[in-house]
């Protein structure tokens, strides 16, 4: 035990490259957390396990930046917004929604879905067509909106797998010089002479004709199904992994830091008190400490999570139960040393209360050690929580990195080669752990100068 002043620690710490790297990574993570909490609406993580929300996202698609690396351009999953034109001609009201897309990928889009939310009355005719880069116009679908007397709000979805679309496309059979065996998108986006991608600008047009008044488009989008999406891709349940990973950052920082602070504080006070009181109290307290030490932590954590609750806050408490023991042991032996110093004796003779001696004279001496052990014990807390989540015992209402990995394992991501589902959560866990290990090691080297040599 060496007593180092706070000022010394600060200057020493600023000299340590490792410690600064740790601080740098940590502040990056904190920044990400703050941005996540303030920018991304909380509804995204509350609905993480609600498949309804993710329905217009693609299934297990790679991150879209893969296109920068790979030779073949993988079609990106696109959610397009329309441009709306309205006109009136001879008593016929035309509302035209146009979705333009520049398509230059090396593979066909898997499908498309048109989602339309409209407000109208009376009956309306709907025509869907696509204008291809070579100028050919393919009429895909002619249908009508259900008749209604009064103003109604109507939700309508048109799928590319619709048999009517397939039938209509068959009328263009003579223009194409190959057999129509494949899906509709593989015809719409194809060259005429062979079944290969025709790159260029495509415009999807939805025209609605009404005789009394135009329809009002409240919300409409065209989902062009691709195999690449977003920053981090999506998983088997169509969830945007970027959102899960972002929400995982504040969560794991919260778990790691609160567990380590909690257990260090408890361990410190427990150990110091036990060492200070000595004799019987010490004996009893240390035996209790031994008992907890001898409990196998992970099996017990699992049992606790299964039988009591897997709420994230209780989990933090459970993790604390098993992590204060080592710190209590060390701080006890430290307080045994400090206890014999003369100023403590002096304070005792002056008649100061035990609690005051402990909190004013002994604990401050242990603070450098406490900070080092807080930093060092964070990674263990994070990996243990991730491990529990990985076993499927995590809190289902929060998307943590461990849970993303759990889902990946359940859906056999490794077997199917969904690397973007496995690699990022683990790297994030490791980076977070590393940041704290760096800080902890730098502090440790200052507190225990023996290791530096």
């Amino acid at each position: 035990m060496s007593s180092v002043s706070t000022q010394e620690i600060k200057t020493e710490f600023l000299k340590s490259k490792l410690g600064l790297t740790g601080i740098f990574i940590l502040s990056g993570l904190i920044l990400v957390s703050i941005i996540t909490i303030s920018v991304i609406p909380a509804s995204t993580f509350q609905e993480w396990n609600n498949p309804e929300k993710w329905i217009s996202y693609p299934k297990t698609s790679v991150p879209s930046w893969v296109n920068f690396i790979s030779a073949d351009k993988i079609p990106e999953h696109k959610i397009l917004e329309p441009e709306i034109f309205q006109s009136q001609d001879n008593g016929i009201f035309l509302t035209s929604q146009q979705f333009g897309v520049f398509f230059d990928y090396d593979d066909f889009p898997s499908d498309f879905i048109i989602e339309m939310k409209t407000k109208y009355s009376d009956s309306h005719l709907v025509q869907i067509k696509v204008i291809r880069p070579d100028g050919i116009i393919l009429e895909l679908l002619s249908t009508s909106l259900p008749y209604s007397n009064s103003d109604t709000i109507h939700n309508q979805r048109y799928f590319s797998t619709d048999s009517m679309i397939k039938k209509n496309l068959n009328m263009y059979k003579n223009d194409f010089q190959f057999d129509f065996l494949s899906g509709t998108t593989e015809i719409i986006f194809s060259e005429l002479n062979k079944n290969e991608i025709q790159k260029g600008n495509y415009i999807f047009v939805i025209d609605t004709y009404g005789t009394k008044e135009p329809i009002e488009v409240l919300d409409s989008k065209l989902v062009l199904g691709g195999k690449a999406y977003g920053l981090m891709g999506t998983d088997e349940l169509r969830r945007d992994l970027a959102i899960g990973l972002l929400w995982g950052t504040p969560l794991s920082l919260f778990i790691g830091i609160s567990v380590s602070i909690g257990s260090v504080v408890v361990g410190l006070v427990y150990g110091v008190y036990s060492g200070y009181r000595g004799k019987k109290t010490d004996e009893v307290m240390m035996r209790f400490n031994d008992v907890i030490y001898a409990l196998p932590a992970l099996p017990f954590l699992i049992i606790l999570a299964v039988t009591i609750s897997n709420s994230i806050f209780l989990m933090i408490g459970f993790l604390m139960i098993f992590s204060w023991v080592g710190i209590a042991k060390v701080s006890r032996s430290m307080s045994l040393q400090i206890k014999t110093r003369q100023y403590i004796e002096a304070a005792k003779i002056m008649g100061q209360k035990d609690s005051k001696i402990i909190f004013r004279h002994i604990l401050p001496q242990l603070l450098p050690y406490a900070f080092a052990s807080i930093a060092i014990s964070v990674p263990a807390a994070i990996t243990t929580e991730a491990g529990l989540s990985f076993l499927g015992l995590g809190d289902p209402s929060f998307p943590t990195w461990g849970q993303i990995l759990h889902d990946a394992n359940t859906y056999g991501a490794a077997a199917q080669g969904f690397w973007w589902w496995i690699v990022p959560p683990g790297i994030l866990i490791a980076i977070t752990g590393l940041a704290f290990v760096f800080i902890g090691n730098a502090l440790d080297a200052i507190v225990n100068p023996k290791l530096k040599r």
Binding site: A294, P296, A297, T383, A386, G392, A414, W419, G426, V437
Partner: protein
């Protein structure tokens, strides 16, 4: 130590006790109903369904009483009985799980799985400690050298990756991208086949590589730190001045003095790895204690949970005990002082 064991048991039982009772009672109800419906003559003897229902309920109550389920699980006599049975290693029968040979006796299931866990983790730990000691000694030999730096960096980086995540990556890379190793660690051949041991070893390769990869860095770092401490001792300086070669000092004199803490930690890490085995085995599907434990928890097979927690705790305590003994053996100072 015995006290610790008992407390562990008590905790486990109290955590799962109430659930166990409900499950057992439901089992009894199901059993009684099945028996009565099979025997049609009983049902014919009743005039109305209420009376029949009453009769069934009475039968169920009788059965619950004879099994001693009417008193709650925390009543002293039931608790004592359960503890006694566990002490004599009679864990009863598993509710759902069976051993490979089809037995549902918990003791048999556990003792079938345990050798596999021990095989995997002992092999891995031995490899880790050999690599760790050699590397640690080498890097403490020249502090600040390239070896030292690489070892320290590797130790820090590798220890912050979760083993099971590396396991997933390894499965991804070596079982699917390059098909060198099997993805599932459970051999597909029957256990009595002569090629079984070979197949087992082959399936063991990937988990062992993963565990070693994650573990040896931290070990080397630990050994290095012990060695650095010892290299500063007076007797080493004395040996240096006599003119004994540095290599000899490091590998024979210093290493021998670093042995006690190293051996202690070896014993502790062996038992610690048994607990951590749960996740690793779940990833690799290794048919050991960890996976058994995980399966037992996912179907709430309480006798198995209690049994394996007990065995894990026993193993842990035994290894702490052995570590203590070894420490005394290697470091005679401890013996005389206590």
């Amino acid at each position: 130590m015995f006290g610790v064991l008992m407390i562990t048991l008590l905790l486990t039982i109290s955590l799962v006790g109430s659930n166990m009772d409900t499950i057992l009672k439901q089992g009894v109800i199901y059993q009684v109903r099945a028996e009565i419906t099979e025997n049609t003559t009983i049902a014919q003897g009743f005039n109305n369904p209420e009376e029949f229902e009453k009769f069934v309920q009475q039968k169920i109550d009788e059965r619950i009483e004879t099994l001693g389920l009417d008193t709650p699980w925390y009543s002293p006599q039931r608790l004592g009985y359960t503890m006694y049975k566990i002490l004599i290693l009679d864990f009863g029968n598993a509710t759902f799980l069976t051993s490979d040979s089809g037995s549902s006796n918990v003791g048999e299931i556990i003792f079938e799985k345990m050798p596999k866990t021990i095989l995997l983790f002992t092999t891995a730990t031995i490899i880790i400690s050999i690599i760790g000691i050699v590397l640690g000694a080498a890097s403490s030999n020249k502090i600040g050298s390239k070896t030292d730096r690489i070892t320290s960096t590797f130790a820090v980086i590798s220890s912050s990756f979760p083993v099971w995540w590396i396991g997933m990556l390894m499965i991804f890379v070596f079982a699917f991208v390059y098909q060198i190793f099997p993805a599932r660690a459970t051999p597909s051949i029957e256990p009595d086949d002569p090629g079984y041991i070979l197949a087992l070893l082959y399936h063991m390769a990937l988990p062992v590589i993963t565990i070693v990869l994650i573990g040896f860095g931290a070990w080397a770092y630990l050994v290095r730190n012990f060695m650095v401490g010892i290299m500063q001792e007076d007797f080493i300086s004395a040996k240096k001045t006599i003119g004994i070669s540095r290599k000899k000092i490091v590998y024979s004199h210093a290493l021998r003095n670093a042995a006690p803490p190293i051996v202690t930690i070896l014993a502790l890490s062996l038992s610690g790895s048994l607990g951590g085995a749960i996740i690793t085995e779940a990833v690799f599907d290794w048919p050991g204690m960890g996976r058994l434990y995980f399966e037992a928890i996912s179907v709430m097979d309480l006798p198995v949970i209690i049994g394996s927690t007990y065995i894990l705790t026993v193993l842990f305590l035994v290894s702490i005990f052995i570590a203590d003994l070894l420490y005394g053996y290697f470091d005679p100072r401890v013996r005389t002082s206590s």
